[in-house]
């Protein structure tokens, strides 16, 4: 992939995440902060489909943005064909793992498995 496309994704995920994380934080402030974290209330959040979907989108946006940012830092620290290849594929793998792990929580909590 051309670097400009990757960086456009980097900017896009940043802008998307800013808007959605703001909503995510406001949800915590819509009631007393520690009440909003009670087991019951959090489960209610996960059961609300639009909110769960939003969490999923935030998860994808931030994982992509975060690990691409880390990839950029690591590429600049050291160079070499195999190192760079490891960093590129490693960051994609890290994104995938984090997204999978977070999705598992959202999906299972949303379906009432807990």
């Amino acid at each position: 992939m051309r670097e400009s496309i990757i960086m456009k994704i980097h900017y896009g995920t940043a802008l998307g995440a800013v808007a959605l994380v703001a909503v995510h934080i406001l949800m915590r402030l819509s009631q007393n902060f520690s009440d909003s974290l009670s087991y019951k209330n959090v489960l209610v959040n996960y059961h609300l489909l639009p909110y769960a979907l939003m969490l999923e989108v935030i998860l994808v946006l931030l994982s992509v943005h975060g690990f691409n940012g880390l990839r950029v830092i690591l590429l600049e620290l050291k160079q070499g064909r195999s190192y760079e290849r490891a960093i590129n594929y490693g960051s994609i793998a890290a994104m995938a793992v984090l997204i999978a792990y977070g999705s598992r929580t959202i999906l299972m909590a949303g379906m009432g498995v807990s």
Partner: protein, 260 residues
């Protein structure tokens, strides 16, 4: 650490030649001495130098060469910030030795070292091979089929506004100060660097040039323009007002679809 005192008669000779001038101050000049084929770390040698308020760092180094230790390796030519030869780290920052007055540094001790991010040849002289090769890779010439030199063709017309779009970037003297200050350059040996990127913009912004797509392709790779994060250090140290950081962002504007 060697300390060499200025011989007595030197001081006198200096004062005698300029009777109307203010008394010369004495400063300590610390020069990094290194021969990479023999050692890995520089040794610092100290010299006491008489200076006037207009004495430049280059003049101080040349004073050492003439009077105290002729073996100091330093590269210079124009002595007027035009040739780009005398870049070095002066009191921790990359600067041109011929353009930096001792008085403006406001310190009794001046330390000169070879510029960072360039291989050292010896003492203060560094190797520009990679920077020049990268500069060439940016195709630093007007790309246009309709050459001005063919008989029967007209010269290119350019309005003052057209000239202004790239003029400041064409003042680059290839001194390498920007590459030495750049944070990415300090760890990324494959990065094009601010000097090369600014020159890619200089020709791309020239309305006689038709090589925009070629150059954009060259800079749009993993160690190209995206490794710049607009830390601005290049523009902070550039002695010619080239403002490479501006050139890089304008060039990136083309890739993001903002530039015309």
């Amino acid at each position: 650490m060697a300390t060499v005192e200025v011989p007595k008669e030197e001081k006198d000779a200096h004062a005698a030649s300029a009777p109307q001038q203010s008394e010369p101050k004495t400063i300590t000049l610390r020069i990094a001495r290194i021969n990479p084929s023999e050692q890995h770390e520089p040794k610092f040698e100290e010299f006491k130098i008489p200076v006037q308020k207009w004495t430049t760092v280059l003049e101080a180094i040349l004073f050492v060469k003439q009077n105290l230790d002729h073996s100091v390796a330093v590269r210079y030519s124009c002595r007027q910030a035009s040739c780009g030869s005398c870049g070095m780290k002066i009191n921790g920052k990359p600067r041109l030795a011929c353009y930096t007055k001792i008085s403006e540094l406001d310190s009794p001790v001046i330390t000169v070292e070879p510029m960072n991010n360039f291989p050292i040849i010896r003492d203060l002289a560094v190797d520009f091979k990679q920077m020049f090769a990268t500069h060439k890779r940016m195709k630093p010439f007007v790309i246009n089929e309709e050459s001005e030199v063919k008989p029967g063709t007209k010269e290119f017309v350019q309005k003052p506004e057209d000239l202004e779009k790239f003029l400041q970037f064409s003042y680059c003297i290839k001194c390498g100060l920007c590459n030495s200050a750049c944070p990415t350059m300090s760890t990324d040996k494959s990065f094009i660097g601010p000097q090369g990127l600014a020159q890619a913009y200089r020709y791309t912004a020239d309305n006689r040039d038709k090589g925009k797509n070629e150059r954009l392709k060259i800079v749009d790779e993993s160690h190209g323009i995206w490794r710049c994060h607009f830390a601005g250090s290049c523009s902070y140290v550039c002695p010619k007002g080239v403002d490479p950081a501006m050139a890089i962002q304008l060039l990136r504007g083309y890739l993001l679809g903002f530039g015309k």
